[in-house]
């Protein structure tokens, strides 16, 4: 009985506690942050990856090189001509989200396509995948989509030991051009190579000053070692941190979105590359960092200087210890 009462009171006091810690809820995010700082007309810039890539390239932000685009069903059969000369490539929906519908081909020969996980697909399978993608299976509103074919990212070995499978990327949250919070998501056996926290991936909060791991979380519980690889997660430090932040800060000028998420991957040869932008980034980053976004946003509004260039903003973030 007492235990029950205790739990009840704990729940009652929870909103107050969360508020004190500056945790941003979904409703508050939508009302105060997104609807206030993100103009609806700017969404297509980030919702369409082809547009994002073109914009990014125009201001010299690194992105994976585009091999080609398939816009119509009749073009699907030309896939082999499009990817001619590339032994490996990635097919992704231009309007996709959360990595849905991404097909990574490591190698292909004759009628056999091999994915990263070693799964073998026939040309028909790939054809089918692109057809589904075009008819909008993976797009946000189910509208007709475009298949974007780009070069494979050669992941830096830095993260190799940290992740069970898949590609750890860095998620930056950028508010008014200032990167304010970041994390990296590491796939686990349980998450089946995927990087979604609710599917059992590990979230690692990163220090904004250094790109060093602050804390790691698995299923909402803080951990120190990766459950599958056993590596000490606290030793994780993202190299080229300044370059990472630069991409995020430049994305603000590029899109005009006051609140956005940037997914950045680290390529062995080309360094940090922008993978995609998101106008409605999720709130899991708070859990990974053990820190509320609301407070970070408030700090930017109150104390951060205005009228800085992207470079100046990154320097400010690197040296700032809020």
């Amino acid at each position: 009985m007492q235990e029950w009462l205790k739990k009840y009171f704990e729940l009652l006091s929870m909103p107050e506690k969360l508020r004190n810690c500056g945790v941003l809820g979904m409703n508050a995010r939508n009302y105060f942050v997104i609807s206030k700082h993100n103009k609806r007309s700017l969404y297509p810039l980030v919702d369409d990856k082809v547009q994002t890539k073109k914009l990014a390239n125009s201001i010299d932000i690194n992105t994976p090189h585009m091999i080609g685009v398939i816009e119509h069903q009749y073009e699907v059969k030309n896939l082999l001509q499009i990817v001619a000369g590339h032994d490996e490539f990635v097919i992704k929906p231009a309007h996709g989200s959360q990595g849905k519908g991404v097909l990574v081909i490591k190698h292909y020969e004759n009628n056999e396509f091999v994915t990263t996980s070693g799964k073998k697909l026939t040309f028909n399978d790939v054809y089918q995948h692109i057809s589904n993608l075009l008819s909008g299976l993976y797009s946000l509103g189910g509208q007709y989509d475009v298949a974007l074919i780009e070069e494979l990212v050669h992941f830096s070995d830095v993260f190799k030991s940290f992740s069970y499978q898949g590609i750890p990327d860095v998620r930056l949250i950028i508010y008014k051009g200032f990167p304010i919070m970041s994390m990296t998501r590491l796939a686990t056996k349980e998450s089946d190579g995927r990087a979604n926290l609710h599917q059992g991936a590990v979230g690692v909060g990163l220090s904004m000053n250094s790109g060093k791991a602050v804390q790691a979380v698995l299923h909402n519980v803080p951990i120190t070692h990766h459950p599958d690889t056993g590596v000490d997660l606290m030793t994780l430090q993202v190299p080229f941190w300044r370059e990472h932040l630069m991409i995020g800060a430049q994305a603000y000028e590029m899109t005009g979105l006051g609140y956005l998420g940037a997914d950045i991957v680290l390529d062995k040869e080309r360094g940090p590359m922008m993978l995609e932008l998101n106008a409605r980034p999720g709130l899991a980053v708070q859990i990974a960092n053990g820190r509320g976004l609301k407070e970070a946003i408030k700090n930017v509004d109150k104390y951060y200087p205005r009228g800085l260039t992207a470079e100046q903003r990154v320097d400010f973030v690197l040296n700032n210890h809020f």
Partner: protein, 510 residues
Amino acid sequence: MKKLYSVRGILTIFLVITVVFAVAMTWYKIAVWGFSFRPSAKSTVWTVDAHISFKPSGDPIEVSLSKPSAGVAYKILSEDTVAKGYEIIRDDKNNRILMKSKGRRNNQDLYYRIMLYDNEDSTGKVWDDKPAKVQKPQFENAQQAEMVNAIWALADAEEGSAAKRIIELLNEENLAPEVDAFLPVKKTPKIMADKIIWLLSTKGIAARIVRGVKLMEKKRAANADIMLEVYEGSKWQVYNIETGTMGLPKDFVVFQRGGVSLLDVSGGYSSEIKFSVVKSVISAFKMAGSRAKYENSGLFNYTIYDLPSLEQNTLKWLMIFPLGILLVVILRNVVGISTMGTFTPMLIAMSLVRTGFISGFICFSVIIALGLLIRTLLTRLNLLLVPRISAVVIFVIIIMQMLTVFGYRAEWKVIASAAFFPIIITAWIIERACITWEEEGVRNATKQIVNTLFVAVITYFVISSAYIRHIMFAFNEWNFVILALVMLLGTYTGYRLTELKRFAPLAGKK
């Protein structure tokens, strides 16, 4: 921040206005139209038929009948006359109804029908004009005077008002010799009433006959019932002429009182009036409609309750939508349950209302299960998305057909309700479930279906309640309140209930 507060302020004012409006309308509907919160509220309605018959003399006919006035013991639901070829004149001022016609030859049968229902606030005391000073009757002889004195002497020995004493004395089982001598052998209520009035007049007390109908079931072709009205103090007091009980009984409908006659027929003779009474029980809601119409409440004609019942039923169905929508908004934005499609759970709940919960639930599960099976087979065929989802839609229709036919043949109603489910929605649930299954695993797919069904079930229990449906229909002004609430919820920026658990590890950290 400031913007939020001003928006919230405006919406709060809007909410207050809608609440005030809804409360006022609800009060009006209950007080004036007699609506009730209970869907099953029943009212007793008495139908009194007055059958007037007479032989015409050939002269122009004029029948004048005294009719009950509204607001005495009963309220009038409707009035009707059956008198073919007669000109009907309603004289509400004198509470009479006039039926005029040219001279006729055959026996005439006219009907006046009045439907009455309970008036809770009847008191039995009726205010009326002060009567003229009563003329004390002249006694025929000393013997008569002596007899009257003797009767009064006997009456004075008892308790109660003069009228009560006299009535009781005249109704004793073993009459006193003086009384026995005074009363005639044939004791009809009319004669008794006349005798009582005469006796009272000897003391200067004004009294008169009240004619009406005592409401009893299965009363057929009965004479008018008679009661006595005595002027006491400053008001007319009604007495039962047999028991001396004071006060107008609740089941007595007054047709005529005072000096006027109950029925006047000119142009005819051997006139007779007989009353029949039928008791019926109808829903208070239905009655409210007729009542509002009788009272000529113009407002009523512009409400949904005056529409034909087919339209009413459609609207009754629509009226519960807003409540379902409010529920979905709360479950999504305040509780934070994510479902497949925003209003999908509500649409499922609507179907469950039509099919019945258990049978609908089983049937829906069967459709989804069969659909998923077929969808899995379709995956192997590698069809394009739109044709594939279309195929699923057609398969769902075929499944529904088969289940309905099979259920009907097997007389298994559980299955026969298949046709009520929204086809496209069902197909999309199958498609989404299948994709989620492939992409995020069985656990997430199941979780999404369970969430959707959970919200559907909650919505079902709210909208299937006969009470709530009745209230949302009878007091549809509350839909404005729901609108204001939904808009106000649009400014809710607090945590969702599920977020409390999600962000729990963050609590207490700084």
